[in-house]
């Protein structure tokens, strides 16, 4: 029994050292969370966003005919980093799952040290890896799709090889907050920063979200 205990302790310690090189305790995010995001889903005011000339030109071209939400296309990353629907977080040894009610969006954050494989095709969800810094979950997402936007307001997102997002999640009591930094130098002169907040809801529910584009048109 003692040998098993020691072996387990060594394994846990090795896992804790894996990324940061320091002992880090992971936090418990497991469960259902109800959004309590800042106004505008935590997006910065448009007046404060510093677009490059290319980004501004792209933003000017946005119109209702391009809005993916009317065509039932899931928001992914970065557009859907925060949405107004509940999410469920499932923590496993090798991954953390973020299950969104909105568009049934599933995000897998790999926690076992793997890196995105070369063959990975860019997608709306991208490829997410994570590690713990103390009790903060840090998620890096790459391989993002150019067929997306930074926000529901139509701010552009290039989705080229230079783009990525870094999210930091922290729990305080029954409140989970995150800050995301999205790097897209094609369209923005500086990091695009968004925030979000959820309240723990042990009795919360994740509902079906069937989407019919026939009911999406307003233009």
């Amino acid at each position: 029994m003692r040998i098993r205990t020691i072996a387990f302790a060594v394994a846990v310690t090795a896992g804790a050292f894996h990324f940061s090189g320091v002992v880090s305790a992971q936090a418990d995010f497991e469960g259902i969370w109800i959004p309590d995001h800042p106004p505008g889903l935590g997006q910065p005011p448009l007046s404060t966003v510093k677009l490059t000339p290319a980004g501004r030109a792209e933003f000017e071209r946005f119109g209702p005919e391009k809005d993916p939400s009317f065509r039932c296309i899931m928001p992914g990353v970065p557009r859907g980093l925060a949405d107004p629907y509940p999410i469920e977080i499932v923590q496993q040894d090798h991954q953390i799952l973020m299950l969104h009610e909105y568009y049934h969006q599933v995000r897998r954050v790999f926690m076992d040290g793997r890196e995105a494989p070369d063959y990975w095709v860019p997608s709306l969800i991208g490829y997410s890896t994570g590690h713990w810094e103390g009790e903060t979950l840090v998620v890096r997402t790459t391989h993002l799709s150019p067929d997306n936007y930074m926000s529901i307001s139509g701010l552009p997102f290039s989705g080229n090889e230079d783009t990525y997002a870094i999210e930091r999640y922290t729990r305080s009591g029954d409140v989970l907050t995150f800050t995301a930094e999205v790097y897209d130098p094609t369209n923005y002169e500086e990091l695009y920063i968004t925030t979000g907040r959820w309240n723990f809801a042990p009795d919360g529910e994740i509902w079906e979200y069937e989407c019919n584009p026939d009911y999406g048109e307003v233009n």
Partner: protein
């Protein structure tokens, strides 16, 4: 907020023209600063759906011509969480007062609005705030 009550046939043309010039650079589908009120409307169609529900109704203009309006509602999930169901509205129903925000020219089709409140003839009230919905039964003795 501007409150525009045109009796049977409202539309805030002046307000929309000035707003549409700004809207081109700021995606805004509905003008929350303008309130449109229709009275004595008749439901044509209703759907509890995602990405958003819809209520279609007609109302007579000052000349007696029936005009059709397409009202955007919150998503099915938020309608249901707010207590609205597939049977909340039925084609042919008469609604006492329908309050909404008008669509912004260039961003929505003509006669597309977003509901903010429905007053039923029996005193029931449905309210819509942003993405959420709420249904309140009339108090009975």
């Amino acid at each position: 907020m501007k409150h525009l009550s045109f009796g049977k046939f409202p539309f805030a043309v002046g307000a929309l023209i000035s707003l549409s010039a700004l809207a081109h650079h700021s995606p805004t589908y509905f003008d929350a600063e303008v309130e449109v009120v229709h009275e004595n409307v008749t439901v044509v169609a209703y759907a509890v759906a995602n990405p958003h529900g819809i209520l279609v109704y007609v109302v007579s203009d000052d000349g007696g011509t029936e005009v059709e309006w397409h009202a955007e509602l919150p998503s099915a999930n938020f309608l249901r969480r707010g207590g609205l169901t597939e049977s909340t509205f039925t084609p042919g129903d008469r609604l006492a007062v329908v309050t909404s925000s008008p669509g912004v020219a260039g961003w929505t089709r003509p006669n597309v609005i977003r509901l903010t409140r429905v007053d039923f003839p029996n005193g029931d009230v449905a309210t819509f705030t942003g993405i959420s919905a709420s249904f309140t039964r009339a108090e009975t003795d």
